[in-house]
């Protein structure tokens, strides 16, 4: 399901500049890059996992999966692979990545937060009980135009915020999955120019083409300024989102600020963002969607500390201004019951559903065995949903390329609220065992 976007008008100068840069890059850059003494890097990863779901009612029935409409099963197999082609030289770089996956249709709702990180594949089809997808997540050419300027054209990452699970500062990147904070985030189609006359200062200006937009009218633009002063790093960003139309708009007008400071060995960071409206609307109890207008503020505070043993602790608090209050959550549940369409279900963003969240993440490397243990939890403060997500990652071969993972995800309802994520989740527990091979 893709949400329609309003058309936008871009200044003619912007169109001309974008066209000129594209022509120069496409005509000249590949020859120059490949003429350099640079090694191409082909690499990727293939993995497969078996998961088992446990639901207290044994039927995987919930408001978002009525009568197990998605056909969740006790056991399921997920297979994924990615292929990267990378090349770097003194004049620039190429970055290409394509992700393939095959997973049960019901997986989108079977784990607590999967939906937020679910891919929006360019190519996807259903076969039997599975969805097969292929998606180009990176396809960018970077050119060092001078010692202090670089231009990137294509599908690229514009992630800049400090937050691990959430990042209100990231105005131009897709929402990430809070349950998989180290997961790969799909790039956006953009042209970006970064000017950095000193390592203490960098200014990035970009125009991006939102998905589904095929004309210049759909282009939006933004900036990101990075400034280092003493032990502190400060970032300021703005996004011009064009004319606001329609209920859903992934790029509303926005401004954001973020800062990181080192204090007594610990990293303290904060982010704040103001959006002219919510990126998704709300659902009325009769099943119709409505806008959630702003200004809407979101903020995040976090702490990072690395212990002498090598264990890394990250703690975050997220105020989600785009999240729903109790009335809006109850309205959503009523709306989905009355009109359980995919469009309405798509408004549900686990991990960014209510207003207040906390995250705890402790990574413990076991150097002796080449393994690492991660203990992670998310808590939705206003709905009482607790997610526990411990995992063990083990290196299985001498090369370090074959790894095994055992993961548990559990959803616990602490308050008994009807419209909580815990109640909406069709399963309470999931255990996954997987293998991955990097090449």
């Amino acid at each position: 399901m893709k949400l329609s976007r309003p058309s936008r008008e871009a200044p003619w100068a912007l169109r001309a500049a974008a066209t000129a840069i594209a022509v120069i890059a496409l005509a000249w850059f590949p020859q120059a890059l490949f003429a350099e003494d640079a090694g191409a890097l082909f690499r990727g990863e293939v993995g497969s996992s078996i998961g088992t779901l446990i639901a207290s009612d044994g039927e995987f029935d919930s408001v978002i999966n009525p009568s197990n409409a998605l056909g969740l099963t006790d056991l399921s197999v997920t297979t994924s692979a990615n292929l990267r082609v990378e090349r770097r030289s003194d004049i620039g770089s190429l970055d290409f990545r394509i992700d393939f996956s095959a997973y049960p249709i019901g997986d989108a709702l079977s784990v607590p937060y999967a939906l937020a990180g679910a891919p929006d594949p360019a190519l996807a089809y259903a076969a039997g009980d599975s969805i097969w997808s292929a998606e180009i997540t990176r396809a960018a050419v970077l050119w060092y135009a001078s010692h202090s300027a670089q231009i990137t054209l294509g599908r690229q990452t514009l992630v800049r915020g400090y937050g691990l699970a959430w990042s209100p500062y990231d105005l131009a990147s897709p929402l990430r999955d809070p349950a998989d904070p180290s997961g790969f985030v799909r790039g956006v189609d953009a042209i970006s120019l970064t000017v950095s006359p000193s390592w203490r200062f960098a200014l990035t200006a970009y125009t991006l083409l939102p998905e589904g937009t095929t004309s210049f009218e759909g282009i939006v633009a933004g900036t990101d300024v990075n400034l280092l002063a003493g032990p502190a790093e400060v970032r300021i960003a703005g996004l011009f989102g064009g004319e606001e139309e329609g209920i859903a708009d992934p790029y509303p007008h926005s401004a954001a600020i973020a800062a990181y400071i080192d204090l007594l060995g610990a990293g303290l960071y904060g982010e704040a963002a103001m959006r002219s409206r919510s990126r998704l609307g709300i659902l009325e109890s009769d099943g119709t969607q409505a806008e959630l207008n702003g200004p809407i503020w979101s903020a995040l505070g976090g702490l990072e500390y690395v212990f002498p043993s090598g264990a890394t602790l990250l703690v975050e608090y997220f105020f989600n201004g785009e999240g729903w209050n109790k009335d809006q959550r109850e309205s959503f549940v009523a709306g989905v019951v009355s009109a359980p369409t995919l469009a309405n279900l798509s408004l549900y963003r686990p991990g960014a559903y209510s207003r207040h969240y906390t995250m705890f993440n402790l990574l413990i490397p076991l150097f002796g065995s080449g393994s690492e243990v991660t203990a992670s939890s998310l808590f939705a403060v206003d709905t009482g949903t607790m997610i526990l997500n411990p995992s063990l990652n083990v290196t299985l071969d001498q090369s370090g390329n074959l790894t095994g993972e055992v993961m548990y995800a559990g959803v616990f309802d602490l308050y008994g609220e009807e419209a909580s994520e815990a109640r909406l989740s069709p399963a309470e527990h999931q255990v996954t065992v997987g293998l991955r091979f990097a090449f």
């Binding site: 090694g39 890097l41 690499r43 990727g44 990378e86 090349r87 770097r88 003194d90 770089s93 190429l94 970055d95 990176r138 970077l142 060092y144 010692h147 202090s148 670089q150 990137t152 990452t157 992630v159 400090y162 180290s182 997961g183 790969f184 985030v185 970064t194 950095s196 000193s198 390592w199 960098a202 990075n226 280092l228 032990p231 790093e233 990181y260 080192d262 060995g265 610990a266 990293g267 990072e304 500390y305 690395v306 212990f307 002498p308 090598g310 890394t312 490397p365 150097f367 002796g368 080449g370 001498q398 090369s399 370090g400 390329n401 790894t403 990097a438 090449f439």
Partner: protein, 253 residues
């Protein structure tokens, strides 16, 4: 005792102390010459052996250069094995940024991370970054006798930090008496030695002798990490100012 006698003894003590300090300074200055290469590009391997089991050799490119104000800067980019290819560390003074290969994301790290294991090895980020300049920068030195290291007579020198943010509370360095090169450095934390670094296979690079094999052995775990330099180019044109910024780190592939 007469004042004049006291004065003479005072001068003698001061003179001996001065001579000792001068000697230590001279010894360390000579040993530090190995790290006085500027704008260095190098390609090296890192092999970790844990519990007698050798892990996959990691290959990295390093770029090191001091800023105009003397700030130490280093960039290390890993190219093998596949699982870590694309991982990179940038250190500028006390600031550390890491590029994670799996996501391409760049993250600034706190100073508590600097003393931690780089690439899962027995070297810390600080060891890898600061080692580009000198082991003794930021430490005061005291001669502590002579010892034989690998059959070579060496000065034993105790180093204590002069600044509060030093990565270690104490270093003990052994410098060969004849060639005046570092043979071994021992790192202390919480009142005990935690690891020992051996520097071997010195070869001529430019005007200095440079250790092509640097081996760090943990004294708390059964673990050894060895960096072997495959290629080193001082005053390399590949080492440019623009490399030492988080902007460049983000552009890496």
């Amino acid at each position: 005792m007469k004042k004049s006698t006291l004065l003479i003894i005072g001068f003698l003590v001061a003179g001996v102390a001065s001579t000792t300090a001068q000697n230590v300074g001279d010894i360390l200055a000579a040993a530090d010459e190995a790290f006085e290469l500027s704008d260095v590009y190098s390609r090296s391997t890192l092999t970790i052996t844990r519990n007698g089991r050798e892990q996959a050799t990691q290959v990295m490119e390093s770029f090191q250069s001091d800023a105009a104000d003397g700030t130490v800067r280093s960039l290390s980019v890993f190219s093998a094995p596949p699982r870590v290819a694309g991982t990179a560390y940038l250190m500028i003074g006390n600031d550390l940024w890491i590029r994670f290969a799996s996501t391409g994301r760049v993250r600034k790290m706190s100073s508590s991370a600097r003393t931690n294991a780089a690439a899962g090895s027995d070297f810390s980020y600080a060891d890898m970054g600061d080692g580009s300049r000198s082991f003794t920068a930021g430490y005061s030195a005291r001669l502590d006798g002579m010892e034989s290291i690998r059959g070579v007579d060496a000065h034993r020198i105790v180093l204590t930090p002069t600044q509060g943010d030093a990565a270690y509370e104490r270093l003990v360095a052994w410098v060969s008496a004849e060639e005046l090169i570092y043979l071994r450095v021992q790192y202390w934390t919480d009142g005990a030695p935690i690891k020992v670094m051996d520097l071997e296979d010195y070869r001529r690079v430019g005007n200095v002798h440079y250790p092509f094999v640097v081996r760090m052995r943990s004294l708390t775990n059964d673990s050894v990490s060895e960096i072997v330099t495959q290629e080193i180019v001082p005053a390399s044109p590949r080492v440019e100012d623009r490399l030492f910024s988080s902007t460049y780190l983000r552009s890496l592939r």
